[in-house]
Symmetry: C2
Subunit: 268 residues, 2 copies
């Protein structure tokens, strides 16, 4: 009886001491990408999943102000505590900290996104915004994305990359605001991992104009990706050359060069 | 007849040569803030308004991917071409360039937002995200926000500030990606304009938990603003001391310091 009590206490302590790994995404909780992410890191700590109940791609750093949110506990990942919310990826992180964990997790992982989030995509991406929200909170965070939109994509090589990067970040605490944008090439012939800067690239938009059954116009967003940055230290270059790209990201958006320029110029 | 034709041509040329000023916001096209912005700059060029048809506060850099968009032409601003769209503030900028102007405007102005967008708010703000979208496109852009949430706020001092800053930016082309986050104190005793950096501040969230009529839980986002940045060159400091804060903003989110650190550390 005493032995049992001691064993129970030891288990409790172990559970308590385990790092808490918060996982979210923007594709929604049923996507293969988030399952792959859970599987890649499930042995590294106590994993808790809090993810949107519907696709939230392109939601950027949106938060839900005008509507209340719902949460629901699920059993989806074989023994891993998991929840869906009706909110955005950023809402998921906020709810996880305040209402589910009641503390900050030790690390926050977002993804694996089905589709690229390199270069300018970091700004539109719900995956990266969730990770950024955690970083603002002082939680080291990583967003993972795959260069393959297909839900049938082979994620086995990606899982190995995820495990390697997460282990590295968990082993050595560099910065509590550490925030990485990791993009993983499709296929299995990955050459290695490169630390990169965000390429200056953007979408050249063209809305597809159509007529509804009542003859009224509506518009679908479409766009062609254009990279204007030819330097070799960018994420776009790394991915084109079959490297995993890792871009360290910041939430201080101050443009210090422009600040100095404006101070001198006396425009207003 | 010939005279008339010449006069008509001259007028056309003048219209063509006028700078195009695109105006949007996130509060929606009916808000007093956007009307004040239109009034403040209507004599500086050809003003075109493209704004959301419903409140889009806190939408961050969200774009609409999963649904088509609608647009509608209105007559709201006494001779100023104006449109609403069913999309986010960022969608409005994209639609304006591709489907309404068929070219880039010379400057994009967003706001005047009813409520602060200083410090970390830049990341959640639909007002600033619209301006950032234009900046990515190479259109100089300014987001304006008022430190007053009330739709009844007196915007007369704010209009003068807006006019002064917009004139300055239009007079001297500093950078095609120029992007400014301007916050204006409430009241009339404004001391001046300060070029600032973004303060490190954040919200300490607490969700308000309630029960619906069916006894199911739902959650409202609430949060207390906390400023952790005590330096005197921040936007929060400027506003607390009754200055207009102007933060130059960038869309290159690369954290170059962390990049150098990661390159040395060989974490993965």
């Amino acid at each position: 009886m005493v032995k049992k009590a001691i064993a129970k206490k030891a288990t409790e302590k172990k559970v308590k001491e385990q790092p808490i790994i918060l996982i979210t995404n923007d594709d929604d909780i049923t996507s293969p990408g988030i399952r792959a992410l859970v599987d890649a890191v499930r042995d590294f700590g106590r994993v808790v999943v809090v993810a949107p109940d519907k696709p939230q791609s392109g939601m950027g750093h949106a938060i839900t102000i005008g509507f209340p949110l719902r949460m629901r506990k699920l059993d989806m990942f074989d023994g891993i505590e998991s929840w869906t919310t009706s909110g955005t990826p950023v809402d998921c992180v906020k709810l996880a900290v305040d209402k589910i964990l009641h503390r900050k997790p030790d690390i926050c992982l977002s993804g694996i996104n089905h589709g690229a989030n390199h270069s300018i995509n970091v700004i539109y991406s719900g995956t990266m915004s969730a990770a950024m929200e955690a970083s603002i909170e002082g939680i080291p965070s990583i967003g993972f994305s795959m260069m393959d939109y297909s839900y049938e994509a082979d994620l086995s090589a990606a899982k190995q990359i995820v495990a390697k990067i997460v282990q590295g970040v968990m082993k050595k605490k560099i910065d509590k605001h550490l925030l990485l944008n990791v993009n993983i090439p499709a296929g299995k012939n990955i050459k290695g991992i490169k630390i990169c800067k965000q390429a200056y690239a953007k979408y050249e938009e063209e809305f597809s104009e159509r007529l509804d059954p009542h003859k009224k116009k509506y518009y679908w967003l479409t766009g062609e990706f254009k990279n204007f940055d030819k330097s070799k230290d960018t994420d776009v270059w790394a991915l084109e050359n079959n490297y995993v790209s890792v871009v360290p990201v910041q939430f201080d958006l101050t443009n210090y060069k422009l600040k100095a320029l404006l101070e001198k110029s006396k425009l207003f």
